[in-house]
Amino acid sequence: MLKIIIPTIMLMPLTWLSKKNMIWINTTTYSLLISLISLSLLNQPNNNSLNFSLMFFSDPLSAPLLVLTTWLLPLMLMASQHHLSKEPLIRKKLYITMLAMLQTFLIMTFTATELISFYILFEATLVPTLIIITRWGNQTERLNAGLYFLFYTLVGSLPLLVALISIQSLTGSLHFLLIQYWNQALPDSWSNIFLWLACMMAFMVKMPLYGLHLWLPKAHVEAPIAGSMVLAAILLKLGGYGMLRITMMLNPQTNFMAYPFLMLSLWGMIMTSSICLRQTDLKSLIAYSSVSHMALVIVAVLIQTPWSYMGATALMIAHGLTSSMLFCLANSNYERTHSRTMILARGLQTLLPLMAAWWLLASLTNLALPPSINLIGELFVVMSSFSWSNITIILMGANITITALYSLYMLITTQRGKYTHHINSIKPSFTRENALMALHMTPLLLLSLNPKIILGFTY
């Protein structure tokens, strides 16, 4: 695993020592090379994990997430070039350093073997993200957004630290290789109920669960494009990944403790999808759509069946790519009109037809059109929740419909219809932007040819 971590750490000296006209080229190229190295991890021969050392491992769940993380860094760098072009050189280098630092922590989080190490790195991802949101965001609301982001996550995760340490003092070790063999049923007591809550709340806040999701629209909207991309695509998946790992230890309390969270998620996905139909702010729409998709992942993880785990993993990867692409598309609008209001940049298909093609593909994958991996994820989750309880099909069906509704609403408002007179002087699409969209879409479409890579460890 050091073959991925050390190059990522070395991206930081690379930015500081590069010449002024080479910083973007160097960092994008080398981060693409690092993502090529990480592709080799997708070769998971069996359900067991590939152990690289005592500290790092990869298994069929963490490998796709790791590949997604390393794939996104060059995309984030490509997306940030425009809005940073007017900044002084040192600030550009600082931004890239923050991204590289965040990337290092994310890679180490997804491959950590020891749960306390996972926790420390999970918390460590907060600091660069806070700095990116608060320092490089564009509106005054970014200060509030950073505070909400930091404190929601920390209040949820400090009980997790205490819970992990108490589990360690009881069982002796929190190493994944050992826990999977020592796993025994948690005895039934009030303190174990609080232990369950302490373990899960951190990830619920991160996912986010419907009642604790207030930080997400703020943080996603106020962050600059790379911040939005990394937040939507990967940081939310940290919550899902953590939940998938830690529920292994938390049986049988999960059988009854999961009910409130299942109810919140099932209701929340409908509520947040419906709110999307009323949004005027494009980034806010995409943020709420992230909450809705992640609610599906929470339902899948809490049901704990093999099919639902497959659906959760596939949905996480698919949503990561789709949501990141939607944020890039929204950003291409924002860079031209400097406004996130949807109706201010409408009828774009006439002016930017190729970008309209990317908008179409992104919206179609967002509404889970077959045969994309979004559909595979959602379908598995719907099927497994139907088998858990027949009534959920009503809510799930309603959610799929409303998702289709708001995705098409977003597509039609921004692309179709007559364009307004005030946007006929926008710059045409840059090759960089088209390349960005293509690099998002190609893995998404190619994965529909071989989805078993992303179906996780219950395949």
Partner: protein, 346 residues
């Protein structure tokens, strides 16, 4: 101040603390405390103003009261044990009075009221000595009597200190008062673990001194004592703003910075001793501290705070030298990976 006089006074402060830390006779410890107190009064009064006089008087009165309480505890210990050697204090009355006296010296709740007011009234350098060096002597005595301290009293004072340190700092814009409340909260963390594992108290003290030294050095460099004047730092020395950001987040206890290490270790020790609610409560209340540190970073590092054009000229004056800043920055932010080295302290 005349350099020779300053040297003598600083030497006396140093000698006082050393006598406290190195003695085995209770009377010598009391003498060390008094020597320390008397010598630090001129340091606190370095800039001669009514406010500094008020601060020094408050400091003298509280510390003298604490020393008298300490003397009473020593005498009671002498009466019951018949000897002056410093060991664990067997008599509960003497132990309680001694704990309260040392808490008064450290500034633990409910004896914390002097800390913000004294720290505010004195110059930044004197405040630095007050909040770092002066904590060493009482903490060393607490370390030595730790087996006999009444757990209930100590834990109550610790938890209340963390609460007061968190809530009290919320409404402050004066940097010295912020550092004072931060000191109260950190003292709370240190004393909470004293009975279970005193080594961690020393670790927390070390990391706290590093971080506080760094913060004060950065404040002295930009000569700022209020949030507003600190927010002009981006005009004068933009690198300092980054250092302030890192150090403040470290003081708040965010991983992966070294300020997380003492909190993590303390939570681990407390949890191993089967207290679960207490560390959870302490950790959540430490978030209050993090809030006002983050607010400070917002005005200093993460925004370019509005300033007049005069501010941009300040860089032309000669820059103050910050002693030992690079090692301090490293110690206050990058030590977390060295946590396994704690095993050498066993």
């Amino acid at each position: 101040m005349n350099p020779l006089i300053l040297t003598i006074i600083l030497m006396t402060v140093f000698l006082g603390t050393m006598i406290v830390m190195a003695s085995s006779h209770w009377l010598m410890i009391w003498i060390g405390f008094e020597m320390n107190l008397l010598a630090i009064i001129p340091i606190l009064m370095k800039k001669y103003s009514p406010r500094a006089m008020e601060a020094s008087t408050k400091y003298f009165l509280t510390q003298a009261t604490a020393s008298m309480l300490l003397m009473m505890a020593i005498i009671i210990n002498l009466m019951h044990s018949g000897q002056w050697t410093i060991t664990k204090v067997f008599n509960p009355t003497a132990s309680i009075i001694m704990t309260l006296a040392l808490a008064m010296k450290l500034g633990l709740t409910p004896f914390h009221f002097w800390v913000p007011e004294v720290t505010q009234g004195i110059s930044l350098t004197s405040g630095l000595i007050l909040l770092t060096w002066q904590k060493l002597a009482p903490m060393s005595i607490l370390y030595q009597i730790s087996p006999s301290i009444n757990l209930n009293i100590l834990l109550t004072m610790a938890v209340l200190s963390i609460l007061v340190g968190g809530w009290g700092g919320l409404n402050q814009t004066q940097l010295r008062k912020i550092m004072a409340y931060s000191s109260i909260a950190h003292m709370g963390w240190m004393t909470a673990i004293l009975v279970y594992n005193p080594t961690l108290t020393m670790l927390n003290m070390l990391i706290y001194i590093m971080m506080t030294l760094t913060m004060f050095m950065l404040f002295i460099h930009s000569s700022s004592t209020t949030t507003l004047s600190l927010s002009h730092t981006w005009n004068k020395a933009p690198l300092i703003t980054t250092l302030i950001l890192i150090t403040l987040l470290s003081m708040g206890g965010l991983p992966p910075l070294s300020g997380f290490m003492p909190k993590w270790m303390i939570i681990q020790e407390l949890t191993k001793n089967s207290s679960i609610i207490l560390p959870t409560l302490m950790a959540i209340m430490a978030l209050l501290n993090l809030y006002f540190y983050t607010r400070l970073t917002y005005s200093t590092s993460l925004t370019m705070f509005p300033s007049t054009n005069n501010m941009k000229m300040k860089w032309q004056f000669e820059t103050k030298q910050i002693t030992l800043l690079p090692p301090l920055i490293i110690a206050s932010s990058l030590l977390l990976p060295l946590t396994p080295m704690l095993s050498i302290l066993d």
